[in-house]
Symmetry: C2
Subunit: 734 residues, 2 copies
């Protein structure tokens, strides 16, 4: 599971002001790779040794090894809890142990489903069964594998319904509102929606709340099919028969085992009955391919779809209802079953109780060559590289941990339950969490995360080459973000001039984390600074049977250069976190991000009030306390960073400094967000109605989206308090 839509909240999409032939180069300052003379958190005298260590580690990973691991891990479909999944856990544990890691499998009992029956049939205007599995590709043996499950949804409900169809676009909250405005009744009908924009579970949730009898989700070629690129095997786009399986948990309301919401799943522990499970649908749903969906869409009449609802099929879409009528039948095998996290440790030499955690999930809906085992093979090669270092007698300053999560696809089960089980210890010991889900689905490096980790990442990227361009990844990352954001950046600088504020040079930044992978429990529930890294591209085989070895080996990353690059970035980031004398966390970046978000929220309030005449609906909030607290955090962090640099230069003890740095992100945790108390981070959360995409400063951001003046006004103080707490934590470390 990983986020398909890459929604940059803080910067609106670049205005299409003009078809100006803009030059591609960013301003000189941004184009320069990070100066190699310095590494944040390291004493000058240690920089050379660190760089030598990293170089040694980075020389270890090999394309052949990566490929061999991938061939083994993707030999069979390995859905969480199946014997094939268990086999991958053993493979990973055995490799890690062989390379010198203290590695163990932790079994966690979780409630989940396998499909017993998936049936979909068009019954009107003509009767025709619709395919619930892929056809395969002649030369690719895996794609014929009968062991893959038929189309089904993780946490899908069982049911048997026959009803006319209504098309509801992406099935988001606005789409269902639009149908209501059009007078199209959803109640009792089967809602056909397309994948994309929001997390699939929320599509089912929204339809269910509107009274639908069932949901069919299909992959439209406009979103990840031929409209984007040639379909596999010619290219990376989705073939007409490829089905996106996936979880329909209501992810934005809380991940993890739905029968242990907010607490750890344990053998014999407290657990809700399946019928009481939290945040899962009660109506049946199925995913299908567009080759089948078009038979339904062609049989819909009623109004032509509203603007923005037309997809990529070669006819005009109508919303219905009917005359298309579907028979949708699903049966589920729900049970509490074990899943298997692998946790491996390389104990720290000086600060064994400071944990630097790297994680990746291992379970897959089918073969998982991209999602997630491209990440698994990167982690294995990183483990081998660090193991080689350890063979020389070296041990990291802090403890390094590698986690191979299971059950991510169902709802981040392995990471969430583990984090809940170890919450107190993690709260004390975790320095940072670095996640890689799919390591490589394309050629564009992407990174999200806690803004305190931005400088660490940017510096690390400065020392790894982009396989396509040769230049440092820091440059290609910056250039790509600059191209996307230049128009907004230029406008923002003009606006700063008008407001009498200083202009700012362009700097590439992390996108804030939403959800959709295993960083969620760490960042959003436990306040542990987290990163999520990967090379992104069109992943048209996503959750389909074609996400297999051949797809990766022939189409996505032949020769594995992007895997090697990602492994090197991950290794450098992990090593620096583990070795730096002063933790490379910069909360001045966090404060800057918050200040920008507060400005954006101010503007969105202003926009949302345009034309509102009912004063009770006006969005008004005095953001000054939050702005003041953000400014305070910024000043406190800058002063703190100067003290840390001085302490590093002066050779003094950094214990107090590091303790404050470990505390600061934790102080951003509050009492829990309205209606979803598991999400405790006051800065970062997935949107309640997006699931994947972040809505930063979620109390305020969500209130603006919901046009909720009460929630908006109530949201300022908790954010201000969190920022003040973080500032105080830094100020106390004198």
């Amino acid at each position: 599971m990983r986020s398909i839509p890459r929604l940059l909240w803080s910067l609106a999409p670049a205005s299409l002001i003009l078809a100006l032939a803009l030059p591609p180069a960013p301003p000189a300052r941004a184009a320069e790779p990070a100066a190699p003379a310095r590494i944040t958190g390291f004493r000058a005298a240690e920089v050379e040794a660190e760089r030598a260590r990293e170089a040694a580690a980075c020389a270890v990973p090999k394309a052949d090894s990566l490929r061999r691991h991938l061939r083994i891990l993707t030999a069979e479909p390995h859905v969480a809890g199946t014997p094939a999944d268990r086999a991958t856990a053993e493979y990973v544990r055995d490799r890690l142990a062989a390379w010198g890691w203290e590695a163990k499998i932790e079994a966690i009992p979780v409630w989940l489903n396998y499909p017993k029956l998936s049936r979909l049939e068009l019954v009107e205007p003509t009767r025709e069964p619709l395919a619930v599995r892929e056809r395969g590709v002649a030369w690719d043996k895996d794609a014929y594998d009968g062991r893959a499950f038929d189309a089904f949804h993780g946490y899908g409900a069982a049911g048997d319904v026959t009803a006319p169809v209504v098309y509801a676009n992406y099935g988001d909250v606005d789409d269902l509102k639009k149908l209501a405005e059009l007078g199209i009744e959803v109640k009792g009908r089967i809602v056909l929606v397309r994948y994309g924009k929001i997390f699939r579970g929320l599509k089912v949730r929204n339809a269910e709340r509107a009274g639908a009898a069932g949901v069919v989700i299909y992959s439209d070629p406009l979103d990840d099919g031929y409209d984007r690129a040639d379909p596999y095997p010619r290219g990376q786009a989705r073939p007409e028969d490829a089905i996106q399986r996936g979880s329909v948990q209501f992810l934005s309301e809380g991940p993890g085992d739905p029968t242990t919401p907010g607490w750890a799943s344990r053998e014999g522990g407290r657990r809700l009955a399946g019928a009481q499970a939290a945040g899962v649908p009660r109506i049946p749903s199925l995913p299908i391919a567009y080759g089948e969906a078009q038979k339904i869409l062609l049989a819909l009449e009623g109004p032509v779809v509203p603007a923005g609802w037309q997809g990529g099929l070669a006819f005009t879409y109508h919303v219905g209802p009917g005359p298309a009528k579907l028979h949708l039948e699903t049966a589920q095998d729900y049970a509490v079953r074990p899943i298997w996290d692998v946790v491996a440790t390389l104990k720290g030499r000086e600060a064994p109780d400071q944990w630097v955690i790297c994680g990746n999930h291992r379970d897959a809906w089918t073969f998982g060559a991209v999602d997630p085992n491209s990440g698994t093979i990167a982690m294995l090669e990183m483990a081998r590289a660090l193991g080689e270092l350890a063979k020389t007698g070296w041990r990291p300053r802090r403890t390094l941990m590698l986690c191979s999560w299971d059950g991510e696809e169902y709802g981040l089960l392995g990471s969430t339950e583990w984090a809940e089980a170890h919450a107190d210890e993690l709260g004390e010991k975790a320095v940072a969490y670095v996640n890689v889900d799919a390591a490589v689905s394309g050629k564009e490096f992407g990174a999200g995360g806690s803004h305190a980790l931005r400088d660490l990442l940017a510096e690390s990227l400065g020392e790894v080459a982009d396989p396509g361009l040769g230049a440092p990844l820091q440059k290609s990352w910056s250039d790509r973000l600059f191209t996307a954001q230049r128009a907004d950046w230029a406008r923002r600088n003009r606006e700063r001039r008008w407001r009498g504020e200083p202009e700012r040079p362009f700097e590439p930044d992390l996108s804030p984390l939403g959800s959709g992978s295993d960083y969620t429990a760490f960042e959003d529930h436990l306040g542990i600074p987290s990163l999520n890294l990967g090379f992104d591209g069109l992943h048209g085989t996503y959750h389909a049977i074609y996400d297999d070895f051949e797809f990766m080996d022939r189409v996505v990353d032949p020769g594995y250069p992007y895997h090697l690059a990602l492994t090197r970035v991950w290794t450098r980031v992990a090593l620096r976190l583990a070795e730096a004398e002063a933790l490379p966390l910069r909360f001045s970046n966090t404060a800057q991000f918050v200040q920008d978000e507060l400005q954006a929220i101010e503007e969105r309030m202003d926009d949302a009030n345009v034309g509102v005449t009912d004063s009770t609906r006006l969005l008004r909030a005095d953001l000054r306390p939050a702005r003041a607290a953000a400014a305070h955090l910024r000043e406190a962090a800058r002063a703190f960073e100067q003290r840390a640099d001085a302490a590093l230069a002066g050779g003094g003890s950094l214990a107090t400094i590091n303790a404050a740095l470990m505390a600061a992100e934790r102080e951003l945790l509050g009492a829990g967000l309205p209606g979803r108390a598991w999400f405790r981070n006051e800065l970062y959360a997935p949107g309640l109605n997006t699931g994947y995409a972040a809505v930063p400063l979620p109390r305020l951001g969500q209130a603006v989206l919901d046009r909720d003046p009460v929630a908006l006004a109530a949201g300022v103080a908790p954010i201000a308090q969190a920022l003040e707490r973080a500032a105080a934590a830094l100020e106390q470390a004198k």
Copy 2:
């Protein structure tokens, strides 16, 4: 011929800031219809009489009459210069004469082509002839009419070429630049481009300048086919066999007869040889339908198309070259032939030498039910209504003229040559020109024009009901623009606050005129304040055989309510221009528009300079002289408008006032734009590379688009001088 893309230059497309469910209502002030107590330019005592006169005139037009005229005018295809076209001229002249107008046919000899042969054949990878005409619709007899020309291009070149194909998206300057960047050679090849974005002649021009051997232009379903609506006959979108015929003159470099560039075509007058004709292609071209184009596109390999080039067909587009190879053969019957303008006059009672001119073209590529004869029937019913008034003994204060232009489709021939022939007299006498091309292709009222006419139009719209909504058209026009522009409007107001400027209420405004219809010679060449009015919608039968009576009668405007509304708007505007004691021209609006455009150009310069390191490429211009002149014009116009209002209220003579108002727009004419001296208006022109869409303040706007620092710096003074001249004209009228 009319502009398909509706590019609002002055306001960038609304940012997709958020999927906020914004309320649809504009601020209260904008929603109110114009107060009926006052009509600009009329003494208070005259308002009631004027309103009664307009009401009487507006009661005359009838749906039955409109329908009858349309059935007659669209009986046969009536391409300019054909006997069928002559018959429509006689029909219009006879009707106008019967209703009391002094009506005559003015024959103008022009050089133009008819197709002798249009042949297109796919020769590789398989051999297949491609259709060059439509198939027809069973129940629509017109659509079977063999008298329509095959696919061809007005001013297309003859030629016979066989070459591999390269796909070049819309064929604009940036698209060809992109191909060069990709290393795709266009030279010697046949370029396949899609219709849309820019005027078709510029597509051929761009390909020719890049060395192409021929051009094929097809209509992609993403632009006006099934991606937009159901194809005809179910809806208004383009069927798979419908061909967009049309002119390939280089319209933005100068319209009119290419053998008399800049001077009037007269019997026996000066004329270039056809081989020397200005602004027409030298390489052959043909239009085709997407049903045929997809056979070519499917046979293209090479790279996948760049972002934004994918169309609506159900496969991934590639740029080629080849393996698709085409045989393209065209033969043309070029000759100097007569075309027939109809000019009708109702002489003014007080100021016969002040002309209020209304115009519409009559010639069509096929039956022309929408384009242009929906406008022709509106003009006929307006003529009948004014004729009824005249029967009561009334004569307008000023002379009213109705012009039924011919040869518009080839390149605005009838209007341009007539305007060139009467340039001096028009310069002296013309008050305003009000154009209607297609009166009704949908339900959304749209208006472009000289900003001095904005208030006149807005007030007139306040007194005509929107047929769909019941409310005054002023409200539906304002609401629709508000919906499209609200995000930008809110942002602009924020920016004004930051700059310490006052905020502005939302006011719907005219879009600036580019080209593509008969206002061009009046506004751009002669500086006559012009308007262009119509109800817009998807016109998928545009220039195809399906633009026929059945299309209008059954699909677009059954019952003709939108024709009636348009006729009423046109009639009120014409009457007010002809009757107002003080001309209803407000140059304060013009000045405001210029100030906003200068601000926009400043920002675009700023944007364009981002990342530019070569200082010779930096776009720098001191806009202060132009800004000062615009501010001066604004102040002068405001003072002038107060004097005019006072003179009206006081009952004094308005001769000086009206003389100044007639002079002011003329003062905006300069020495002619760089490389296209026929375009003399310093405020309004089509983009050199758009053809249809306006690039206001064209010296500056075009220089920014072209990234030309020299042209930019040179462009400020002429604009400033034009504005100062206009200000002086108003100031002299004390």
